[in-house]
Amino acid sequence: MPVNTKAIGKKYEPTNYAVGREKIKEYARAVGETNPLHLDEKAARDAGYADVVAPPMFAVVYSSPSVAPSLFDPEVEMNFAMMVHGGQEFEWGPVVVAGDEITTTASVKDISERDGRGYYVFESVSLNQRGEQVCRGTWTNIVRGV
């Protein structure tokens, strides 16, 4: 059965995420970061940042609220039971610090089929309160037996 490609290009409502100092620290500790820029606001300020700096992979935290609804969109018809997160790419701009307000918009970038597998590719674009692109994410999910 061929995959349904009608959702390609679909965009979702932007989500806003207010980056909190303690959330950055909680995330940094969970992934084993020891750089004081992530854990100590004084060290971050001494280095010229307004507040603690988010590790690059914190992009997961501020962009997921936008990406998650696209994965569950019935129009995308992605079979979760047979799905694995196959690949991920992030491209970063200026660093995110506590106090930033991040707006993320998700879209369906591509849906295709190869060798009986469906490839569902989503994109997230995240801007800070100054309109600078802080991250672009490409989320690839693979569904077996389409």
């Binding site: 500790r29 992934v31 084993g32 997961v60 997921s64 991920q88 992030f90 490409t138």
Partner: protein, 129 residues
Amino acid sequence: MADLSAGAQIPEVRVTPDKYLTNRYAGASGDFNPIHIDEEFAKAVGLPGRILHGLWSMAQVARAQTEAAGGPATLKRLSVQFRGMGVPEQEVVVTGTVRESTGGHVIVDTVAEQAGNQIIRNAEAELQV
């Protein structure tokens, strides 16, 4: 900053996720998929037990790059493929080799493995130093 000339190996990151790591990462990231936090659920869907979040493992790969290059602002791009399954309480080892290095722009081929199995493969990092 580590040696990031072409052909250099970046310093390894070795980390053993403890028994409760997946719970802490679930809370920190917001990903509460029960395959990561519920042993019985994971087994019921055919997994060996709870598995690591792929994005936690990717964060270890990211950390290896930023520790080598001197901080969070150096990492400009990271793309990975998730393969196999990471499990708690077994050491994860991130290694990488500099493929290109020109004018402060560095490309690193990098992987994460656990007990000899690559859990992140074909990863490519772009650094600006």
